[in-house]
Subunit: 168 residues, 2 copies
DNA sequence: TTTTATTTTCAATTTATTTTGAAAGTTCAG
DNA sequence: CTGAACTTTCAAAATAAATTGAAAATAAAA
């Protein structure tokens, strides 16, 4: 398989996977392109390689930067901005976990905390079911929160090394 | 807070969280409604409570069943079908992990396996970067696969009990 | 079998999301 | 300053996804 072909395949599939995870297809594609680009590249490079508009590139790059997955690079003596992705895939995974936790899990736990206090007959079947379900989801969420925290703090070799043995 | 109010809040927020995870809002809402309904309910109940069409309910229920999160229940002597959600939230989480693994992680690993074999100069910077990145992502994916398998096979008390200590 | 209740399907519509592109904004060399 | 190079913004257009609703299919009752 030729490199250009493989790259193309990787970028377009990465975009498709992204959408399944609630991530904008183009954002995932830009990220994929940056992951396989050894050197920083410009907005124009991205526009050309993915055949998308300048505005689109700009917005999605901004988004990737807000996830700390991509950084803006100013080369001395160059007018244009360059962009480069974090290449350590463990750091990428960690960063995504951290962000999704903050953006999704935390708000969810906050919501559940607000649904605690139900007026009325605690012996009523519907009420009991509701209170129990909220409590269960909260417990699950809190445990997930703790596990993810440990994963984030763990050393890079978490996924590649010894931690798996703990599960066995 | 009144029960009806809390339920409404839960259902609508659950829908919003779902969309962030690439899940159809209505599907998430139907699931939430079923989670807090102690007894099985009909398509008409769902239509009414969520103000959505019959076709919409039917399609999303079918989808929830394909995830094994909801089951169809035929009550003896009743013409209508009833639906009920798995209430054990650990089983729900396990089932979702299992399905997403099958639907997303497995295909991703398959793709990466196909991008292995690149023609041409292995010393070329672009080629080296590409091969290395694919290998790294594959390694991460495989480790995630194993960890998730252990989680799925673990007892229900994984999240609620002792497993967390292993991380400390 | 025929009728009636219920479920399923899917083309058309509506709604939501993404993308474009040109204008406005910014930065910096001269 | 001035103007060219480059970046950002955002309303409008294009695309994608979800929803409707009524017709077709199915299943049970009469």
């Amino acid at each position: 398989m030729k490199l250009s072909e493989a790259k193309q395949q990787f970028i377009s599939s990465w975009g498709a996977f992204g959408t399944q995870w609630g991530i904008n297809r183009t954002m995932a594609q830009i990220h994929a392109l940056l992951l396989v680009s050894p050197d920083p590249i410009t907005q124009d490079d991205i526009m050309e390689q993915l055949s998308i508009s300048r505005g689109n590139v700009n917005m999605n790059i901004r988004d990737l930067i807000s996830w700390s997955l991509v950084e803006r690079i100013i080369l001395p003596g160059e007018r244009k901005e360059y962009f480069s992705a974090e290449k350590d895939i463990w750091k990428v995974a960690t960063q995504i976990i951290k962000e999704r936790k903050k953006r999704e899990l935390d708000p969810m736990l906050k919501l559940l905390g607000q649904l605690d206090n139900i007026d009325g007959d605690k012996k009523d079947k519907e009420t009991k079911q509701f209170i129990g379900m909220i409590a269960d989801i909260k417990k699950l969420g809190n445990q997930a929160d703790k596990v993810l925290d440990v994963m984030i703090k763990a050393e890079e070799n978490w996924f590649t090394g010894s931690v798996l043995k703990m599960f066995k």
